[in-house]
C-alpha cells in the first residue's frame, strides 16, 4: 500500500472519527472515547507504516501484523480496516448487530478479514503478539509485529508476564504501543490505580521506550512509529508510549473518561459530526 502524506492521513482520520461516532450512535453502544483518542495511531499505522495486504490471509506471511489487545476500541479498528480495503465500508452498518461480523469486541469466529485473534478480555494481546513475532523469527520472516494496549490494561498481571518474557527472549521484532490517555472506566488512572512511570517500569523490564508526546498529532504519531521501527531489531522489544486524549476531535468528549463506553444521542452526534469533515464519504 502506497504511503500517504500527513495531510492525506489527517483527512482519513477525520472520516474515521465520523465512522466511529456513527457506528456507536446507530446501536447506542460501544466505546467512542479511546477509539477517537487512538485514531491518529490507527490511521498512521495502516496507511503509512504497516506492510500489509487487505486480501486477508490469517498467517500474514511476509506482512507486518497488528494486534489490538484493548478490543473494546473496535470501532476505530473496523473503520480503518474497511477504509483500507479489508471489507466494504457499508458493513459498518452492522456493527454490534445480530448476525454481524463486526462483533462488539473483535473476533475471528465470524471470519472478519483483518482480525487474527479475539480480544476484549484485557491483558492477553501482548502475549499473542509475542507468539506471532517468534513464529516470524522461526520462519525467517523479517516483518514487524505491532500490538496496542490500553493504559488501564497495564493493571493486568499478564501484561507484565509478557513484558518480562519479551525482553528476556529478545523479541525485538515486536513494537508495543500503550494508549496513554490516563483514563479508565471508573475514572482517571491516577485515582483508580496509579501507573506512575510506565517508561521507568518498562525500561526496568529491559525494553527500549519511545515517547510519542503528541499522540493526536498525525506527524508526531508517524514520527514516533518510525522511531520505534528504527529501534527495533536491536536485541530489545520496543515500547511506544502514545500520549493521547480520550475523545479527541470532539470538543465535548475530549479529556474525560465519561465517554469511555457511552454512545452519543442524535443531537450530540449532529454536534460531533459538525466538528469533523466528511472527507472520503460516509458509509
Amino acid at each position: 500500500m502506497e504511503k500517504q502524506s500527513i495531510e492525506q492521513l489527517q483527512k482519513i482520520a477525520s472520516q474515521v472519527r465520523r465512522d466511529i461516532l456513527r457506528m456507536v450512535h446507530a446501536v447506542q453502544s460501544g466505546h467512542p472515547g479511546a477509539s477517537l483518542g487512538c485514531t491518529e495511531f490507527f490511521v498512521a499505522l495502516y496507511f503509512s507504516q504497516l506492510n500489509h495486504n487487505p486480501d486477508f490471509k490469517m498467517d500474514g506471511k511476509g506482512e507486518d501484523l497488528f494486534f489490538l489487545s484493548n478490543g473494546h476500541i473496535s470501532p476505530v479498528w473496523y473503520s480503518v480496516l474497511s477504509r483500507s480495503g479489508y471489507f466494504s465500508p457499508e458493513e459498518m452498518n452492522t456493527f454490534r448487530k445480530l448476525n454481524s461480523r463486526l462483533q462488539g469486541h473483535p473476533a475471528t469466529e465470524e471470519g472478519l478479514p483483518g482480525i487474527r485473534i479475539a480480544s476484549g478480555s484485557l491483558g492477553q494481546g501482548m502475549s499473542v503478539a509475542i507468539g506471532a513475532a517468534q513464529a516470524k523469527k522461526i520462519n525467517g520472516d523479517d516483518s514487524t509485529v505491532y500490538v496496542l494496549m490500553g493504559d488501564g490494561e497495564q493493571e493486568e498481571g499478564q501484561v507484565w508476564e509478557a513484558a518480562m518474557y519479551a525482553a528476556h527472549w529478545k523479541v525485538d521484532n515486536l513494537i508495543a504501543t500503550i494508549d496513554l490517555n490516563r483514563q479508565q472506566i471508573d475514572g482517571p488512572t491516577s485515582e483508580i490505580m496509579n501507573l506512575i512511570d510506565l517508561r521507568a517500569k518498562y525500561e526496568a523490564f529491559g525494553w527500549e521506550v519511545v515517547d510519542t508526546l503528541k499522540g493526536n498529532s498525525m506527524s508526531a504519531v508517524v514520527e514516533g512509529l518510525e522511531k520505534a521501527k528504527n529501534m527495533s531489531r536491536q536485541g530489545k522489544p520496543v515500547l511506544n508510549l502514545l500520549h493521547t486524549e480520550m475523545g479527541y476531535g470532539v470538543d465535548f468528549m475530549v479529556g474525560t473518561h465519561k465517554w469511555h463506553g457511552i454512545a452519543p444521542n442524535s443531537e450530540q452526534l449532529a454536534d460531533a459530526l459538525g466538528q469533523l469533515a466528511e472527507t472520503i464519504g460516509d458509509y
Binding site: 485473534i117 502475549s127 499473542v128 507468539g131 522461526i138 518474557y165
Partner: protein, 347 residues
C-alpha cells in the same frame, strides 16, 4: 516413586474376597483380559510422543512454564532448541504466546500441570485459543488424585469439565503410556484446540504400542452383556481389573475406553447401553462436569437407563500415595465392582 503401591487395594480386596494376591501372581489370580509386562507414567508417553511429533513435523513447537522435567519435555527441547519456548512461571503468557505462534503456522504444545493448564488460565484459553479457534495443544500432566503427595492444591479434579464446556475444544484423557504417546501424535495432526490430560504415577502399560489413536472414537476393550463400564484415563485399568473380578462372580461387564471426552462417541455409548441396559462411569474427576456427566446427558436424551458414577463426589483431594487416595476417594477396581452391583439392582 509410587511404582510398587498401586496394587495394594487389590491385595486388600483379595484378602477378603479372593485368594491372597500379589503383583507376581496377579495374572494367575485374576483372569485379566488385558495384562502388562511394564509400567510407566503417562507423562512419559506424552514426552516421547512429542519428540516423535517434532521429528515428523517441523511446525511442532513446545512451550513450558518451568516444568520441563515434570512434563518430560527435555528430549524435545534438547533436539529442537530453536522450537522450544521456556516461559518461566507465567502460564497466562504461555497460553497467549501459543495462540500467537499458531498464526505463523506453528503447532504449539504447551506443558504444565493440569491445574495450571486449565483453572489458572481459563480466560486466556477461552478467548485466545478456543473462541479464536487456534491450533494449540494444551498438554496437562499431574491431573487428578494420582498426583499424590502434593495434595489438593495441585490435584485438579475439575479440568475435564472446564475444558469440555468450551466450544471448539477437543478433550482427551488417555489411559496408559502407549495410548498417551499415540494420542500425542494424533493431536499433532488434528487441526484445532485440544486439551490432552495425563498423569504422574507409573501405571500398567496394557494397550498396544504403536496403536492407531482415533480422536472421538471409543474403544470397546471387553465385550459384555450385563453392564457397561465407561472408563477414562488411569481408571481404564481399574475397569479392566474390575471386569475380571465381576466375571468371577458371574457378572458380564463390557468395558469401553472413552479416551476422548469431547467429541463424545455417543453412538458407541448408546449401542452398548442398548445391549447391557445400564452403565457405570469411572474417572479421576469430579462427578460434576466429568465423563459421567457427559454419558448421563447422552443417556437422558436418547436412552434413559440406570447409571452409577465412580469419581470424586464434590470434594477436594489431599496428600497421600496414589493408591491410598484412589481407595479413600472410592476410585479403584473394588469401587467399580460396588457401583456395578448397585446399578444392576436398579435394572
Amino acid at each position: 516413586m509410587h511404582s510398587d503401591n498401586w496394587l495394594k487395594p487389590l491385595a486388600i480386596i483379595n484378602s477378603r474376597i479372593f485368594r491372597p494376591f500379589t503383583e507376581e501372581n496377579m495374572e494367575n489370580t485374576l483372569d485379566l483380559k488385558f495384562t502388562y509386562t511394564d509400567k510407566k507414567d503417562t507423562r512419559s508417553g506424552f514426552g516421547d510422543g512429542l519428540l516423535e511429533a517434532g521429528r515428523r513435523n517441523p511446525n511442532v513447537v513446545g512451550l513450558c512454564a518451568d516444568l520441563i522435567g515434570s512434563l518430560k519435555m527435555g528430549a524435545f527441547q534438547k533436539e529442537f532448541p530453536e522450537r522450544f519456548f521456556q516461559t518461566g512461571i507465567a502460564e497466562a503468557n504461555m497460553m497467549g504466546i501459543a495462540a500467537g505462534l499458531t498464526i505463523g503456522g506453528k503447532i504449539p504444545f504447551t506443558g504444565t500441570f493440569a491445574n495450571f493448564s486449565t483453572g489458572r488460565v481459563y480466560d486466556q484459553i477461552r478467548q485466545s485459543i478456543a473462541y479464536s479457534s487456534k491450533n494449540v495443544k494444551i498438554c496437562a500432566s499431574h491431573a487428578g488424585l494420582t498426583l499424590g503427595e502434593d495434595g489438593a492444591t495441585h490435584q485438579i479434579l475439575e479440568d475435564l469439565g472446564m475444558m469440555k464446556m468450551l466450544p471448539h475444544m477437543t478433550v482427551i484423557n488417555p489411559c496408559d503410556y502407549n495410548q498417551t504417546k499415540a494420542a500425542t501424535l494424533a493431536i499433532a495432526e488434528h487441526e484445532g484446540p485440544v486439551y490432552l490430560r495425563f498423569g504422574r504415577p507409573v501405571w500398567p502399560i496394557f494397550t498396544p504400542a504403536n496403536q492407531k489413536f482415533e480422536i472421538g472414537k471409543a474403544w470397546k476393550m471387553i465385550d459384555g452383556k450385563d453392564v457397561t463400564i465407561f472408563a477414562t484415563g488411569h481408571l481404564v485399568w481399574e475397569a479392566v481389573v474390575a471386569e475380571a473380578m465381576l466375571r468371577e462372580e458371574g457378572i458380564s461387564a463390557e468395558v469401553i475406553n472413552i479416551h476422548t471426552i469431547k467429541p463424545l462417541d455417543t453412538e458407541a455409548i448408546l449401542d452398548s447401553v442398548a445391549k447391557t441396559g445400564c452403565a457405570v462411569s469411572a474417572e479421576e474427576h469430579q462427578y460434576n462436569g466429568g465423563l459421567g456427566d457427559s454419558i448421563s446427558q447422552t443417556l437422558a436424551r436418547h436412552h434413559p437407563a440406570p447409571m452409577e458414577y465412580v469419581g470424586v463426589d464434590d470434594s477436594f483431594g489431599e496428600s497421600g500415595t496414589p493408591t491410598q487416595l484412589l481407595e479413600k476417594y472410592g476410585l479403584n477396581a473394588a469401587n467399580i465392582v460396588k457401583a456395578v452391583k448397585k446399578v444392576l439392582e436398579r435394572k
